[in-house]
């Protein structure tokens, strides 16, 4: 029997046994819940009460400010009006988001202008417009042309990172627990009497990976359908490539993390030790996740994000995010993926040997070095 068939049998067992399990069903339901919340929650939070700052340049007609306050209160808007010295100051404050809108009232009594940074808060605009009842009522201006796809890209980037992290880490953890379960139940000795340890690890990573990919497909499909059906966004032309990047980087990130976790799982003899053994990898994954959401999302083309794209444990979260925001060069994607594949290969060569040495040892938790030396088949 070929090695390939042995790997296929292991992968199929994982797929069937885990795919039918209650744990997978729960994970699917939970992840669909998270994705729907991820799509709609920002809208709900964004439209909630919060104080709006309106800057005013020039002298508004008497009674305008109290009138604004009253009508804002009537629609549930907390409005703070402040006087701004001149137009450039006001525009600068719009850009740094310390003002939501700027009302410019020319001293000569000509048409006042309502300025926002981009597509503004519709409610505030209505409140202000309603206060100018005599023609030529009011003019509107935006500092930056409204780009509805920009918000959508931002949302996709944001939700994409969360999806990747959840998928990579939860299914990577399944590999970890799967390895420990086989050790703990002692079945591994029977299994390894016919299969090479490396093939067992490959099969396990593949089988669970297919489940992870299936869940990701469900999450993306549900997320996009819900967003479109619920009027949250319309699909920008880049949707296809963003989704493709998500899948590619799930596969790369999952292959990397699940292999690392599987190898570390082999060092533990019991489930309680497994989380201990895997904590270094968990820390690195969490670090990459927060780096992506805090640093890379803010400045996707910055030096930090560019360097991180070439650090394999972090790249799976950073590269698809930068791609979704259109802030990455094609060569960076290719180079980063090549680094990632090389890292996975190296991890598999080194980790495969550690796994082989450790997976049959029971008793106290093993150290990496001992497992490397104990490798029975080299």
């Amino acid at each position: 029997m070929s090695r390939r068939r042995a790997i296929w049998l292991v992968a199929r067992r994982e797929l069937l046994e885990r795919g039918r399990s209650r744990a997978f069903l729960l994970s699917l339901i939970l992840s669909v819940g998270i994705i729907v919340a991820g799509v709609f929650l920002p809208t709900l939070i964004g439209s909630g009460p919060g104080s709006q700052h309106l800057g005013v340049v020039g002298s508004p007609p008497s009674g305008l400010v109290p009138g604004l306050a009253a009508s804002a209160k009537a629609v549930g808007l907390v409005l703070r009006v402040e006087s701004v010295s001149d137009l450039p100051t006001g525009e600068a404050r719009l850009r740094d988001d310390s003002l939501e809108a700027l009302l410019v009232v020319p001293p000569d009594g000509s048409t006042p202008t309502y300025i926002v940074k981009t597509r503004g808060n519709g409610l505030l605009q209505q409140v202000v417009a309603a206060s100018f009842t005599t023609p030529p009522q009011i003019a509107f201006r935006e500092l930056e042309a409204a780009d509805p796809d920009r918000d959508t890209s931002f949302l996709f980037a944001n939700v994409g990172v969360i999806l990747l992290f959840i998928s990579i880490f939860s299914f990577g953890t399944w590999v970890l627990t799967g390895v420990v379960e086989e050790k703990q139940s002692r079945v591994v000795e029977v299994v390894l009497s016919t299969i090479e340890p490396r093939d067992l690890l490959i099969g396990k990573v593949l089988g669970i990976g297919v489940l992870g990919l299936a869940q990701l497909v469900v999450m993306v499909t549900v997320g996009l359908s819900a967003g479109v059906a619920g009027g949250r966004f319309s699909l920008p032309p880049t949707t296809g490539s963003t989704v493709a990047m998500l899948f590619v980087w799930f596969i790369l990130g999952y292959a990397f993390y699940s292999t690392a976790l599987g190898v570390l799982g082999a060092l533990a003899s019991r489930m309680e030790e497994a989380s201990n053994a895997s904590s270094p990898v968990s820390f690195i994954a969490m670090g990459g996740y927060f780096f992506a959401l805090i640093v890379a999302l803010n400045d996707p083309a910055g030096t930090a994000a560019r360097i991180a794209s070439f650090i394999p444990p972090v790249a799976p979260m950073v590269v698809p995010l930068r791609a979704a925001l259109g802030a990455i060069e094609p060569w960076e994607i290719i180079g980063s993926a090549a680094f990632m594949v090389a890292a996975i290969w190296a991890l598999f060569v080194v980790g495969g040997r550690v796994y082989s040495g450790a997976v049959l040892q029971t008793g106290a938790r093993l150290r990496l070095r001992d497992a490397w030396r104990a490798s029975g088949r080299g």
């Binding site: 399990s21 002692r186 079945v187 000795e189 029977v190 009497s193 016919t194 049959l360 029975g376 080299g378």
Partner: protein, 296 residues
């Protein structure tokens, strides 16, 4: 034939195997005996490539064992274990396929063995739902489902009740009769003596004795003599330095004697002392042989 030649393995400063050599022929049931830590499990693990020996060779039909051979071997490790949440039939079918059987053949073999092991009604149950004894049967099934030509079992009788021991013995006998080379380790020496023709006794990593049980017993330099002379109180034994008394109780005595004892002379001496009610001259039992070898 399984041939193990000059097998050595060290774990740091601990010597697990030190030049072990023996063989197991098809159709023979071989008991693999030795105190704990003698090297039995290490030897078995070497056969399945789970431990790489430092030195020595293991061959099957004259060829070094590789993965292809192992697909036709069956193994029951000392530390039992299967997938707890997997259904019994799925589990056996999985192991059969891992041994190279096509899916349909694997399912048929699974059904046949579950029937044979009396587990046909539990085919759809998860392993963890089975009693301890039934889990042991499934474990045996996992070693047998692919019809191996070599069966290696590490302590197959440990933890079995008398009924389980009878079932296990029956299956091992039946497999050997079908031409399978069977080797199993055990501490139940009386059971081994009943069941096996051949034994291999390993002590501190070395083979202390190997061969047919009857030959090993016959080759021993000592014999056990049991005599009962009515009314004499063993007084007739005085002045016999060639007979060592192991146990005496009234007129009964159990003695150790050399194999070349002048039996006729001893019998006539006993008869002269009084009516002889019992007179048995036997080679040592396997247990006695074992104790001699491992305590030496």
């Amino acid at each position: 034939m399984l041939e193990i030649t000059d097998l050595s393995k060290r774990y740091g400063s601990v010597v697990a195997l030190d030049g072990a050599t023996f063989s197991v022929r098809p159709g023979r049931l071989v008991g693999f005996l030795g105190p704990n830590g003698a090297g039995k499990t290490t030897t078995m693990r070497c056969v399945f490539g789970l431990v790489r020996p430092d030195h020595g060779t293991i061959t099957w039909q004259g060829r070094p064992i590789d993965r292809t051979h192992r697909l036709r071997f069956g193994y029951m490790p000392e530390q039992r274990g299967l997938y707890p949440r997997m259904k019994v039939a799925d589990q056996l079918s999985y192991f059969a396929q891992q041994h190279g059987l096509p899916a349909t053949t694997a399912r048929a073999a699974t059904a046949r063995w579950l029937d044979g092991l009396g587990l046909a009604d539990r085919a759809g149950a998860k392993l963890e739902a089975l009693s301890h004894g039934n889990q042991q049967r499934v474990q045996l099934g996992a070693a047998l489902v692919h019809d191996p030509v070599l069966l290696v079992l590490d302590e197959p009788f440990s933890g079995l009740d008398p009924l389980g021991i009878a079932t296990m013995s029956g299956i091992l006998r039946e497999r050997a009769a079908a031409g399978v080379a069977v080797v199993f380790s055990s501490h139940q020496l009386d059971l081994v003596e009943d069941l096996c023709e051949d034994v291999v006794i390993v002590n501190r990593g070395r083979i202390a004795a190997a061969g047919a049980i009857d030959d090993l017993r016959a080759a021993s330099a000592r014999r056990h003599l049991e005599v009962e002379v009515v009314g004499n109180g063993n007084a007739w034994l005085d002045g016999r330095p060639d007979l060592t008394i192991v146990e005496q109780r009234g007129d009964f005595a159990r003695l150790i004697a050399p194999a070349d004892l002048d039996l006729a002379g001893v019998l006539s001496a006993a008869s002269a002392a009084g009516p002889v009610r019992r007179f048995a001259f036997q080679p040592p039992t396997l247990s006695e042989l074992f104790m001699d070898l491992v305590q030496a």
